[in-house]
Subunit: 146 residues, 2 copies
DNA sequence: ATGGGGCTTCCCACCATGGGAAGGTCAAGG
DNA sequence: CCTTGACCTTCCCATGGTGGGAAGCCCCAT
């Protein structure tokens, strides 16, 4: 039931590099070693690593993952605490999504107004040159105005 | 009409640190210097810097910004080229948005199923422990199953 | 002329990840 | 028993943008 780092990596889906890194930042405890210094992992360790990998797939940053691992290993945790972390993560995701969506919409609007042919005039560049959407206070620029 | 780096920073909304960095990665040309080595910027430079700042606000990575600045300064560019960059950026934003939305939805579903009170059982942890959505092949784990 | 604020360069840190070098180890097969 | 190749170890470096800070120079106003 002892695996070296490569086997644990395959079994958990986390690269050996990352396993060492997780250890170095104390996300996981220091692995036991063989006499020759090789790290050894148990099936239990692999379970933890898989848990971590899945948590990362939800975009959770390391510190949140750490909290969750702690809660996971505490059989008496109140589910409230877990849910709180999840809700915070959802809120963060939503805020990031809003931000990206705003970028995308603004850009799409400009792109739509750009004919995209061989002519040089382009609302995208004009906008970037001219300031925030709605404000077109370009004065010193002679070119790039449509 | 000559400003030092601090004034240019205020006028463009880009920190002095970043101005030096942009210069070091050749996003902008090397600024002229006074005899004593101070960088000097013109109003034209500030226009370029503002262009860059606005482009960054669309989430454009440096290399794309660089391309755009080049096109912007070329009065004869075909708008097609600009639009292509914009479309690539839009596609990237969309793909990031999808990814985050998938995370958010999966997490929201789990959170919704979690009562979030003082009881310890929690579908969120069970899922993280148990594998991908739909697959609940937990065998070695006695706890965390609902 | 002195003080304070600005400028310069250089190094370090973040976060999570990958690449690679230099050197030790293990197992299989000759 | 020895070689070979695959694995392991640590250490350093890079990414992308950004900020912090130190050491030292410069400029202006008092």
């Amino acid at each position: 039931m002892h695996m070296n780092i490569g086997e644990a990596a395959k079994a958990s889906g986390i690269s050996p590099k990352m396993l060492r890194y997780y250890e170095s930042i104390s996300l996981i405890p220091q692995a036991r070693r063989t006499d020759s210094g090789y790290r050894i992992y148990t099936l239990n360790d692999v379970d933890t690593l898989r848990f971590i990998r899945r948590a990362r797939e939800f975009g959770l940053p390391m510190d949140r993952v750490k909290l969750l691992v702690g809660l996971w290993q505490d059989k008496n945790r109140p589910s409230r605490e877990v849910k709180e972390i999840a809700m915070r993560q959802i809120a963060d995701l939503e805020s990031k999504i809003s931000e990206l969506t705003a970028m995308k919409n603004a850009l799409a609007q400009l792109a739509q107004a750009c004919h995209g042919d061989s002519r040089p005039d382009c609302p995208i560049l004009s906008d970037l040159a001219g300031g925030s959407l709605g404000y077109n206070n370009v004065d010193r620029h002679s070119a790039d105005m449509l």
